[in-house]
Amino acid sequence: MTAAPPTAPVPDRTVRVAGHRAGSVVRRRVARYVALYALALVFVSPLLYMLVTSFKTRADATGVTPSWIPDPFTTQAFQTLFSASDTPVLTWFANSMIAATANAVLVVATASMAAYPLARMQFRGKGIVFGLVVAMLLVPGVILVIPNYLIVSEIGWLNSLLAIIVPTAASAFGVFFMRQFFVNLPVELEEAALLDGANRWEVFVKIVLPLARPAMATLALLAFLTNWNDFLWPVYVLFSPETRTLPAGLATLQGANQVRYDLLMAGAVIASVPVMVLFSFLQRFIIEGVSRSGLKG
């Protein structure tokens, strides 16, 4: 950039740097592995212990010396949970499944549809709609909780799964996410179809959506996970045992069995298995979806 530096010392220095590197790079790499795998162990062991405990007897789970192998191995905790009428875990499971699936479908459908004109059409009011969506991304959800309780109660959805499915489907994030994807699709195919006489809906359904499948899958997964794990809203909106979702049910379960850790861990395992299975098969979608959400600002 400025005056050319003398050329002679440069190769000299590089060699020294390279030589210095070789030794420390190996050492550093080993240190890195050790640190990363030690950390991984810290991360997994609580989850493993949860799984192990769910197959213990009550006495084994609350033994003073914790053990990593159930002795005896038993499915007693699960059986007790499945037969308890005041904590109907299987009903909670079904409720969570229905709610999270319906919510994901609703989010993907409404967000894709709304994102398309925002990405591809010119119309009056576009700026206002998009501005509102972005503004609501930044507003903390707290202010919506109390009034939404009133609205949901007015509609008659209190203590019903609809309260878990519908209100949270208004996903400003989803619209933002899908719009970002549509904007980056090549526009030529759509134009050609329009010139051939296809209408906007046909273009959207037959050309845009098939191309957007990866984005839709990612959004569906994120919506499913969020809904499956949602806690505060279900705890207050679903108040009878048989209407609860799993997270809210776990609160009931903990309230009813303060130190029955065998039962609590079995309940926690039931609530974890579906999302863990989804995650292990589709982790690339999930992780990439999340890392992309960081670039939204």
């Binding site: 109390i146 861990m265 960081g294």
Partner: protein
């Protein structure tokens, strides 16, 4: 955003449309078309986001007991009661704001720095990298309910795994993690870091991978130390995501609820009852919705001031940098 159509394509479109005068150009949608696409979302968004955002203000101006049919208008009384130190409502409220503040102050720095360290260690090609990334991310996939129920067990004073292992290495093994201070905070913050670390780490990692390797090589050749390389190459490279990570972490921490609801039940005493906890309890258990709505607006205003400060902090630096570029 608007210039998605190449101009020549537009010209052809217009030309062919001119042939059939009666029909509008297929490139320009009918005026109703975008609104039909938007309708389902706007219906949901209007009913469950825009309407409640406004309705909340209305509620906060009333003595709104959900269980009573009448909700007398009280003006700003709900807000005054929360701000006036001599009223009965203000003590618990500011206590809960303090709890939220303590949690946020303790967890945000950890959730900004530790995931960055993890991401930097992960930012290289080595066997098992994707596996490790998935392992660190795994707890985040679980909900706060599972995480809290699990850790309440692990942190149990007498039979918990944590105290057991602390005892094995010769440390105090009878700490009451969930029922004494400051340990309840240590537990809540620690569990939250374990739970959400992967989220920020994954975002950082994506940003780190976008930094060209040549920049590091150049810095190396120039003899920059690791510390200098971090501030000259890594940190600027993280800029695009840093503001999102900071604001997002701040808002999530300030919204902490489930951990304290399930692990400490707000205790010992009311010391870990966060603002969200109090708002939900006041509004949805005691049904004092007017007061709860007022609390939620005070909390929101605090959060927005903080977020705005962060925006300003980042924007200011960006502006200065572009300014420099222009001068060159």
């Amino acid at each position: 955003m608007t210039a998605t159509l190449p101009t020549d394509a537009l010209a052809t479109a217009r030309a062919s449309a001119r042939g059939a005068r009666r029909r509008r150009s297929p490139i320009d949608p009918a005026p109703a078309t975008p609104w039909l696409f938007l309708a389902p979302f706007l219906l949901l968004f209007g009913t469950f986001v825009l309407l409640p955002a406004a309705l909340g203000v209305w509620i906060s101006l009333h003595d709104w007991d959900y269980t009573f049919p009448n909700h007398p208008f009280v003006g700003l009384e709900n807000y005054q009661a929360l701000i006036d130190p001599s009223s009965t409502a203000s003590g618990p409220f500011w206590e809960s704001m303090r709890a939220t503040g303590i949690f946020t102050l303790a967890s945000v720095p950890l959730l900004l720095v530790i995931p960055l360290l993890v991401a930097m260690m992960m930012n290289a090609r080595f066997p098992g990298r994707n596996f490790l990334r998935a392992v660190y991310f795994a707890p985040f996939v679980l909900g706060v309910a599972v995480v809290s129920v699990l850790w309440r067990y692990l942190l149990d004073t007498n039979i918990g795994l944590v105290n057991h292992y602390l005892g094995l290495v010769g440390l105090p093994d009878a700490t009451a993690w969930l029922t004494s201070l400051p340990w309840a905070w240590v537990a809540l913050v620690g569990v939250t870091v374990w739970w959400t670390l992967g989220f920020n780490a994954v975002i950082y990692l994506a940003a780190l991978q976008d930094i060209p390797a040549e920049l590091y090589e150049a810095a190396h050749v120039d003899g920059a130390s690791a510390w200098q390389r971090f501030w000259a190459v890594t940190f600027p490279g993280l800029k695009p995501v840093l503001m999102f990570v900071v604001v997002n972490t701040l808002i999530l921490s300030a919204n902490m609820f489930g951990q304290s609801y399930l692990m400490t039940e707000g205790g010992p005493g009311r010391s870990t009852r966060t603002a969200i906890y109090l708002i939900a309890d006041t509004g949805l258990s005691s049904f004092q919705m007017g007061s709860a709505a007022a609390m939620s607006y005070i909390l929101t205003v605090c959060l927005m001031i903080l977020s705005a400060a962060i925006f300003w902090l980042f924007r200011d630096k960006d502006a200065r940098r572009t300014g420099k570029k222009v001068r060159r």
